[in-house]
Amino acid sequence: MILGQFILQNLEANAFILGCPATRTALMIDCGEDDPRFDDFLRAHGMRLTDVFITHTHDDHVGGLATVAARHLPVITAFTPTPGGVSATRTVAHGDSFLFAGLAGRVVHVPGHLPDLVCLIFPGMVFAGDALFAGSVGGTKSAELAQQQREAIHAHLLTLPDDTIVYTGHGPATTIGIERRHNPFLA
């Protein structure tokens, strides 16, 4: 698998393209804007964008979905039926499986930052959206939501192996182990 990380102008959110060299297919995780580098990356690797997974529906994660979807016609997977005003091909809930190019993934629901936030877990890595960052967690609008998010992170993310790489919605990557040991919000 090849992974491209794109730091977007829209609130410096991360978008990712996970590509399979064998099938020449690609999965985009979040799409905060339509960045011309997406297509350059796909062309450079001879890949076709077949899937988009949306972690949550804030604009910096779905703002470019409509134009990217219109151009590539991917299968769109999200928790909500209409992320960014686009009809999802498939809606998912906590515990659902997600298959991409033979890679078996799992969806976990981590509400708090937004009610519709889901993380995508593949073996050895997790795309966490704005649920978990290096040294921080997603902002919430109340103490109750913060507690809800904290419980979901502990139950569904911190139970992963320490060496699991966490690709976050903003900022650098991290691992579950690093966050377990150093994230002040998870103590």
Partner: protein, 157 residues
């Protein structure tokens, strides 16, 4: 050439780290690079978590998006290094020199930067919760880092 900020291909061989080396996205977790001359090397997005970089010369190195968590950077030279969006959680960097380093948007919970020289560093949007900055020199640094619950006794500003 337009390209992603970071491209990772796990099938790529691990490069040899040296001056000016291209180590983008390299997996160097726990590597022993103590005292090495790594001036100007490109470690963009590299995994250097837990690495021994004690006394290493990383002047002008690019560590954008690199994961340096829990690395030993004591006495390392990082002057003018690009550490934007790097993960510095739990690093041990007491006495390190970071003059003019770019630390924009970096994340350094529990980092030990006691006695570090950060004169002229860019700390815009940097977050160092629970870090140790005691005796660090922040004169002429740019930006106001988040130092919530950090130790800042004797910091020079």
């Amino acid at each position: 050439m337009p390209y992603p900020d970071l491209e990772m291909d796990p099938s790529s061989p691990t490069p040899v780290a040296g001056p000016g080396a291209h180590c983008r996205a390299a997996r160097l977790s726990g590597a022993d690079l103590a005292g090495r001359d790594l001036r100007g090397a490109d470690f963009t997005g590299a995994w250097l978590d837990g690495a021994n970089l004690k006394g290493a010369d990383l002047r002008g190195a690019t560590l954008h998006l690199a994961v340096l968590a829990e690395a030993d950077l004591r006495g390392a030279q990082l002057d003018d290094a690009d550490l934007r969006r790097s993960n510095l959680a739990g690093i041990r960097a007491s006495g390190a020199s970071l003059c003019g380093a770019r630390l924009y948007f970096c994340r350094g919970a529990h980092a030990d930067l006691s006695g570090a020289d950060l004169r002229g560093a860019d700390l815009t949007r940097a977050i160092f919760r629970c870090a140790n900055f005691s005796g660090a020199d922040l004169r002429e640094s740019v930006g106001t880092p988040n130092l919530e619950n950090a130790t800042t006794e004797g910091v020079q500003r």
